[in-house]
Symmetry: none
Subunit: 232 residues, 2 copies
DNA sequence: CAGAACCTTAAGATTTTATTAATGAGACAA
DNA sequence: TTGTCTCATTAATAAAATCTTAAGGTTCTG
């Protein structure tokens, strides 16, 4: 599972450079040149690791780190200029998991990022290799082994197709999934045409069973012209 | 799979040494003692990787790197003297993929060369196109996966066309994009005529949703006779 | 000032999605 | 085999959202 990594550095060249290296490793990168945008992002995206510059124009890197620690648990790596020796202790004390002094070798940074992610996933016992058999979030539980769906403690019985569709939506939650992609993933690589409204009908049935509606969707949202989506 | 490797170093002893080690690994080596000959070679041979010395008598190694990047996509490894610490970031920023400080162990160089070639081939074969899925700057966040737009912490809902237009403008931020180019990129390669004002109407809608105005634009600026532009 | 480029507005054309009902396919038991 | 049941698909229609067009107004530039 590709991790989401937050980068914050006001020196655009450096942020861009780090981005290139992390993209290369198949991470999804959220890059910001100031603290405000970054903090904004943290509340809206699932971030797995942050790389923070200490010196930022608006918000101090340490402050961001502290703000992260208030609500989140992912590792933080601080970037500091070589002269700021004194700050090292401070940064680590405030909750950073590692720090790198500038100028640094990008490959070293990549190595540290990987190390942190490894350490973190290890301690959290998230098995990256094994594919998920159970999805559970905000009142919704999908059990692939039992082929069962629970919504707010109550079991709702879904047909195989309905279950598959809901599974795909849930395992991609937070992201819009197009009808075409749904069709591909649920029915296999069959040909899909727009005149085929079978996905739509199943969505309708799902919503009915989940006591959801198209106008005011609690779960399955329609994103016009794009697809369907379940919020995280 | 024998790769073609370009070596440029005015210190002949070093160039020769590197050559020996790379020949040993069954790479084909193109060796030059100055930048001019190297640049000449680049246009005539298929090069898979370059090892460039920073200090050259005629053309700076960084310049060569930049010239390579203008037309080619292969990895570049820079060789720098240990004192040139400051240049490190610069060199990497200008597009180098790795650097090695002199004196270096030849085997380390060979290892780095292999790593770059591995990374590069992986990068080029696995993923079809590593396009950005997220754009974020100065209070504006565009998330292609969520198909969501945030402006100053507030979500604004855009239609597919509006989203596409804003995406094109943002991914070309700092540059003026003509109506024609917008049309091409958003609608595909359909025919565009000046009597078609649909782009204009969508811009208008975008501005409305962003609480922007044509007279005093905060985001989408009109560049008279040219097109539209978003500042970086 | 005149013409060109751009802005605004709103109607109706088009596209996409929702709903509903009917048909068909397959499983399973009598 | 036949009838019944469940589920998947299709089709027709309705509803909604979006897109395009066109007309008239405004602003800019030489």
């Amino acid at each position: 599972m590709a991790a989401n990594i937050l980068i914050v550095d006001d020196e655009q060249a450096i942020a861009d450079l780090v981005e290139v290296y992390l993209l290369n490793e198949n991470y999804k990168v959220f890059k910001f040149y100031n603290g405000r945008d970054a903090l904004n992002c943290i509340n809206n995206e699932r971030i797995d690791l942050a790389v923070l510059d200490v010196m930022l124009p608006d918000i101090n890197g340490f402050s961001i780190c502290r703000r992260i620690r208030e609500k989140h648990n992912f590792p933080v790596i601080m970037l500091t200029a070589k002269e700021e020796e004194i700050d090292k202790i401070t940064g680590l004390t405030l909750g950073a998991d590692d720090y790198i002094t500038k100028p640094f070798r990008p490959l070293e940074l990549v190595a540290r990022v990987k190390a942190q992610l490894r350490r973190f996933t290890k301690y959290n016992s998230m098995e990256p290799a094994k594919e998920e058999r159970l999805i559970a979030f905000s009142g919704l539980v999908l059990d692939m082994d039992k082929h069962e769906c629970m919504l707010n403690e109550k079991k709702i019985s879904l047909t195989p197709t309905e279950f598959s569709i809901l599974w795909v939506l849930c395992s991609n939650r937070g992201r819009v999934v197009s009808s075409e992609e749904l069709f591909q993933k649920v029915w296999g690589d069959k040909y899909f045409s727009n005149s085929n409204n079978t996905v739509m009908v199943h969505i309708r049935h799902l919503r009915e069973k989940m006591h959801d509606s198209a106008e005011h969707p609690k779960y399955i949202k329609t994103v016009w012209g794009v697809g369907y989506k379940i919020e995280r």
